[in-house]
Symmetry: C2
Subunit: 450 residues, 2 copies
């Protein structure tokens, strides 16, 4: 299915307006998060790969144009323009896996104003979804304090797109793998799985189901032990593990999916250890999120790995980011740019073509960010780099493994308090002197001139 | 992109186990919502069309099989089985737009156990997303008390899939249309749009932008009036409307997107009426949900139509449903079925092949539902009907318009309290005598036999 028409109607109606009045005008738009969700101390950029793929390939088929013509709001010459549409502008962006904060442009588009407008909806949708999921998953990984996290979200992620992207986003921030096979195939992410209650229930006795599974996967079995009675389930798992051991194999683990995971995991660990099965791991799942994982670990749960689904796949406590795509400068017909800003109370925007600088302290750690005008001399690491020029991707993005490594390295350089899941810590983000001056001048001019 | 591998790895590992031990066994699974979200009095079924399309077309390509082979956990004979895989089972389901409650099977699969297992993840993901969105959108429509609702969710819906499906789901429950052009094309939903702040900002003066837009869409313009100063914005809209009127056209509306919508809508209504522009409608948008819409109307907001985005597109207060897919009966090799159930505390399931009956009172209104065994004689309307037999769709689903009409008609027959957005009302759903007996017998047997 072509996603070219995956945009809000007003992108096209405005485009037709621009087509008549501003064919040659250019513009810059910033994509940023207006406000951090109350419960996040940092966000993680993700989605750029999909954005670039979409933008580079965007064109309208004759079926698309037929549909638009049928709406009876578009002029023939504008539809003719769409028939030859290609995005030919420039995009600057933070790399995937970069940590960012509110008001910082994650992505900046400079293009003919029609082209810049038409890609808005897809860019917002994509960066919102993937950055939201990566940011949530990073909290889950932080809470697990070194235990493994597996993404089990597919069944309750909001849609197939989300179900695939949560696997990728969680992997970027340190999850070990995903249950989603398609994500594994598409992104070369390790895939993992256990067994469901239904498998146990489909046999007359639990022990039969365990043995059948163990015979099928003698080195890879994780047995779910709480279908009927967790105590008996653990005993049956012990029997199965001993059977495998005798044959020279090893049970990979057991899974607890309901009831009191802290208590049952300790019970199971004791029983497994008593039986000489120290190598058998304990997996936990069942409506987990970062808070429940943290509480389980505080209670001494003997869990080696967590399977996290619904809460991670929906970012349940913050199921969207306040992403916006705002005009920051426009040009006249001759390409002379002037900065623009929106003044609505609480929704004012930052004008001009901007760069974000990350300030590095003496010990190499990050101490704050500066949102500045492009070209301002700020001593820090610029976060936005050129990823598309004249509609062509400048270079292939890094591999997912590289993105993952980079994220881990960077996160360690931020104040450690940012990783606290319960207390929001504010990271210093300031506006540069040059940008402040531009805002001051623009505000007075705009109000007066309307 | 083929979605065949859009499943949890354990579906395939269990399938391999079944392939070895239960090649000929059949099973029934129920798809249902375990618990209503705290804030919902009813749910709306959606997603069946996509489910049937997926199931009927499901097969594994050689690229899929190559990927699976590379995982080194699947046997060659099982991969050979997958190469020829087709779903050949039966599906019973509630029609799209049906209202349902917790524990009621929305969909029931009876098939070879491998086939029934392999489709699980996709079914859960799809029914979860679309039913969740339809249920949330229905609350928004209820809150608007007759004013129009438009779906503006695309940009912050969790992914492209969600962005398209929210348009369809909201339309089922009474929204007037969507901003999502692709949804319009795919589902023949009316598409709608206004203009963005960026359009205004791209002109030197607000009035220039209004006139340019009005010239482009003389009969379809909705002008956003709060880019700089809402008061001046309304005045500029009045000027534009009068200009259009002189030319024989009519301004469709203005849009308020920030600040105090109740106060500004009343101000705008007064100014428009004073200027003889009673026909110009007022649209409101900006982070709206059912509660904000209800509060605005209580404050007398003069709003004709609401554009609702983020909260509807994410179902923000309940961003997932507690959907599960549970084995309710299994067969031996000779096709003799026996009921199964899971006993875990709080997560017990209902055994047997079931039907849901909706009881109709003397006045034709619905008074309660009964979850019964198939074949039990219950005086009520059965909600599950056969939609797929031996892997073939039995008949085309109704058109979206029909689904929409049916939903509206049905909702009106439920107790009116269910439409209250603030107070959760419990609709009576009971278990039939036959099902109760089966549960009682099974519980004692199962616990004893493990």
């Amino acid at each position: 299915m072509s996603l070219s028409l995956c945009l809000d109607l007003y992108e096209l109606t405005m485009a037709q307006g621009y087509f008549i009045y501003k064919t040659k005008n250019r513009a810059s738009f910033d994509l940023f998060v207006r406000e951090m969700p109350r419960c996040r101390s940092y966000l993680v950029a993700a989605g750029l790969q999909d954005v670039l793929h979409y933008v580079q390939g965007l064109k309208f088929s004759s079926a698309d144009l037929d549909y638009l013509r049928g709406l009876k709001i578009f002029h023939d010459d504008f539809l003719g323009y769409l028939a030859n549409f290609r995005f030919r502008g420039d995009i600057w962006a933070m790399p995937e896996g970069e940590i960012f904060f509110s008001n910082e442009p994650v992505l900046r588009v400079t293009a003919n104003i029609i082209e810049a407008q038409i890609i808005e909806s897809f860019l917002l949708n994509t960066v919102n979804l993937q950055s939201m999921l990566a940011s949530k998953a990073s909290r889950v990984v932080n809470a697990a304090a070194g235990r493994q996290i597996f993404d089990f979200s597919l069944r309750r992620a909001p849609g197939i797109d989300a179900g695939i992207k949560v696997a990728r986003s969680a992997y970027i921030v340190g999850a070990m793998g995903s249950s989603c096979v398609l994500a594994g195939k598409l992104y070369k992410i390790p895939v993992a799985g256990t067994m469901a209650h239904s498998f146990v229930m489909s046999f007359k006795k639990e022990i039969e189901s365990f043995l059948a599974y163990a015979e099928t996967f003698p080195d890879k079995s994780i047995l779910i032990v709480d279908t009927y009675d967790s105590k008996k389930g653990v005993e049956n798992a012990v029997l199965t593990a001993l059977y495998l051991k005798e044959k020279g194999y090893s049970l990979l683990g057991i899974r607890l999916d309901s009831a009191d995971i802290a208590a049952w995991s300790k019970f199971a660990r004791r029983r497994l250890d008593q039986a000489g099965l120290k190598e058998v791991k304990i997996f936990a799942s069942g409506n987990l999120d970062e808070f429940k994982i943290s509480a389980l670990l505080k209670r001494g749960a003997a869990v080696d790995a967590f399977g996290v689904g619904t809460h991670m796949g929906t970012s349940s406590d913050a199921p969207s980011l306040d992403v916006v795509y705002k005009l920051s400068e426009a040009s006249d017909e001759n390409g002379r740019f002037y900065p623009t800003m929106k003044l609505s109370r609480d929704k004012a925007t930052l004008p001009g073509r901007k760069q974000v600088f990350r300030i590095i302290g003496k010990n190499g750690r990050f101490t704050g960010d500066v949102i500045a005008l492009e070209g301002e001399r700020i001593k820090g690491r610029p976060l936005l780099s050129k990823v598309m020029v004249s509609g062509k991707v400048v270079r292939e993005g890094p591999s997912l493994e590289k993105i993952r490594e980079r994220f881990k390295r960077n996160l360690a350089l931020f104040p450690v308090g940012l990783r606290n899941i319960s207390l929001r810590q504010r990271y210093p983000v300031v506006i540069s002197p040059g940008l402040k001056r531009m805002i001051f001048n623009l505000k007075s001019n705009l109000k007066a001139s309307q």
